[in-house]
């Protein structure tokens, strides 16, 4: 699946950086920037989920719960209690990490269907709580989120800023910020994968038995990757809230959890760049289908089924495989 990691690692990151910084040349209006920012933030969460699902081979059908928790924690702390954005984000991540650790330990002893059920249940419970506790969260109607701020300086999509002497609109500023955050997220994830911890995680997927006989405490590593992916979701959720300026419990919904998992699966589990492509495709789909809005659900379901049946490895790995086969065929090798 992921061939020659160390070589692909750097190439993938550089490719992504180029895309991120070159994109503004092709975007022209606030709507485009807004969409791109949203995609970047969600992609960041998906990169984290990929560590759990793609690399460590676990399942989580409730990951939106952590995204929502991060979003709401920041929203409540900055909105209701006047905290500054970064402390709220960090403390929120710690809180989510603790919750993920506590919940993860017993859950990750389960496998397959039972694990999927348990993660589903956790996600739902979080969504239901967020939905019901009106006084704190605003209930189903949602709540506003103050803009992101760093030491008093605000980052808002409606602001005007200057960078290196150039005038930048708030949309562009947010987009660049989100892009950088995504790059950092990918860099950290890639560092994790190509390391002893990363191999231990991947061995949980490859062969738990093999891992344990060489000394890997598989329970501990499953917990670790679960917590890390939850923290990714939490941080991205918090930023998402600040960016949108408003959140509703739908950020923690089952539908969103399924969307996140689909992005991982579509892009190619275990391919960091692949899942970002998955996120881009699935976020752009509603835009492309704007005229066929009613068909959206049908198409989405169809994509899920067709990808899993015919390309279970995902878009990117299947394409990569296809290309390597082509190359070796033309080179005269026995493909």
């Amino acid at each position: 699946m992921m061939a020659r990691l160390s070589q692909f690692r750097l190439r993938g990151l550089v490719f992504l950086a180029i895309v991120v910084f070159a994109l503004p040349l092709f975007l022209s209006n606030p709507f485009h920037y807004g969409l791109a920012t949203q995609i970047a933030l969600i992609a960041g969460a998906v990169v984290g989920l990929n560590l759990l699902v793609g690399f460590a081979g676990q399942i989580s059908l409730g990951h939106a719960g952590f995204f929502g928790l991060g979003a709401y924690f920041s929203a409540i702390m900055t909105g209701t209690y006047g905290w500054s954005a970064i402390p709220a984000l960090v403390v929120g991540a710690v809180v989510v990490a603790i919750i993920a650790w506590v919940v993860g330990r017993p859950i990750l002893r389960l496998k397959g269907h039972y694990l999927s059920m348990a993660t589903l249940a956790v996600g739902f419970i979080i969504a239901i709580i967020l939905n019901n506790e009106r006084e704190i969260t605003g209930g189903p109607d949602g709540m506003p989120v103050p803009p992101f701020d760093v030491f008093g300086w605000e980052l808002s999509a409606f602001g005007q800023y200057s960078l290196f002497g150039m005038d930048i609109s708030g949309d562009l500023a947010w987009y660049l910020f989100a892009g950088v955050v995504l790059l950092v997220a990918v860099w950290l994830a890639q560092n994790l994968i190509d390391s002893p911890i990363g191999r231990a995680l991947r061995s949980v997927h490859g062969s738990e038995v093999a891992a344990s006989v060489v000394g890997v405490n598989t329970a501990k590593y499953k917990s670790l990757v679960f917590v890390i992916s939850a923290v990714y979701a939490s941080v991205m959720g918090a930023l998402y809230g600040h960016f949108q300026g408003f959140i509703t419990p739908s950020v923690a919904s089952f539908d969103f959890s399924i969307l996140l998992i689909t992005m991982v699966v579509l892009g190619g589990m275990g391919s960091t760049i692949g899942v970002i492509i998955g996120a881009v495709v699935l976020e752009l789909l509603p835009q492309v289908l704007a005229d066929f809005q009613e068909m959206e659900m049908v198409l989405f379901g169809l994509i899920l089924m067709l990808t899993m049946i015919f390309m279970p490895k995902g878009l990117l790995p299947t394409a990569a495989n296809f290309l390597t086969k082509r190359r070796s065929k033309s080179a005269g090798g026995d493909a």
Binding site: M1, M2, A3, R4, L5, G57, L188, N191, L192, D194, S195, P196, I197, G198, R199, A200, R202, S203, H205, G206, S207, V209, A210, A211, S212, V213, V214, G215, V216, N217, T218, L224, G270
Partner: protein
Amino acid sequence: MTALVEVNNLSKAFGGVHAVESVSFSVDAGQVYSVIGPNGAGKTTLFNLITGLYTPTSGEVKLHGESIAKLLPNQLAERGMCRTFQQMQICMNMTAIENVMLGRHLTLKSNLLTTLFRLPALTRGEKAAREKAAELMEFVGCGEYLDTEASAMSYGALKRLEIARALAAEPKVVLLDEPAAGLNAVETAALEDLIRKIAEQGITVMLVEHDMKLVMGISDRLLVLNYGRVLAEGTPEQIRANPDVIAAYLGG
């Protein structure tokens, strides 16, 4: 001298099936100790009991004189015990060298901080681990496959890879479960050499095998199992001459 591995009156029943019954023996450090017996005699079950994958119904296993009863397989690895599997357990989602580097897990010190930010401490450790892993792959004879995807390797190469991974953990005792299964005569001869080389390094080797030539050629002592019970135990010469063994196993 305390035996390295001690098995006392070990039994394992699955429902009504007595896979292993009242088995006792001990293995001294530096020996090559083989367990043989017909199919279904309980050899792999015995290995699984010794390596902590199964819990015994009764009896005990001791490693370095310490009972392994409460220990998980990864804790046994920390105490110097490693193994390979009859049904190969290779991580097909990694390259060959990554599989062997996985075996270095216990020797590599890493924490989340050095990992996430790729600090020099980590890169140094990775470099050393990679070198050691490449060395081991040479040692077992699959040095040409370093960065090959495990899923692209041949059966024989993978079997050797698994041994490399087990050795990477620097064990005191390594248990090989049917390492010759599926290998042709040439590959089996190479395996015999390899096992000899491993033993020469002072590592205790325990073997479950069907290939009589291989087993007789390299073992210091043998244990013969039949229907989960010990049929005979001794040196290759003793076993060869044992009438019960001849009747039950070696045939005519």
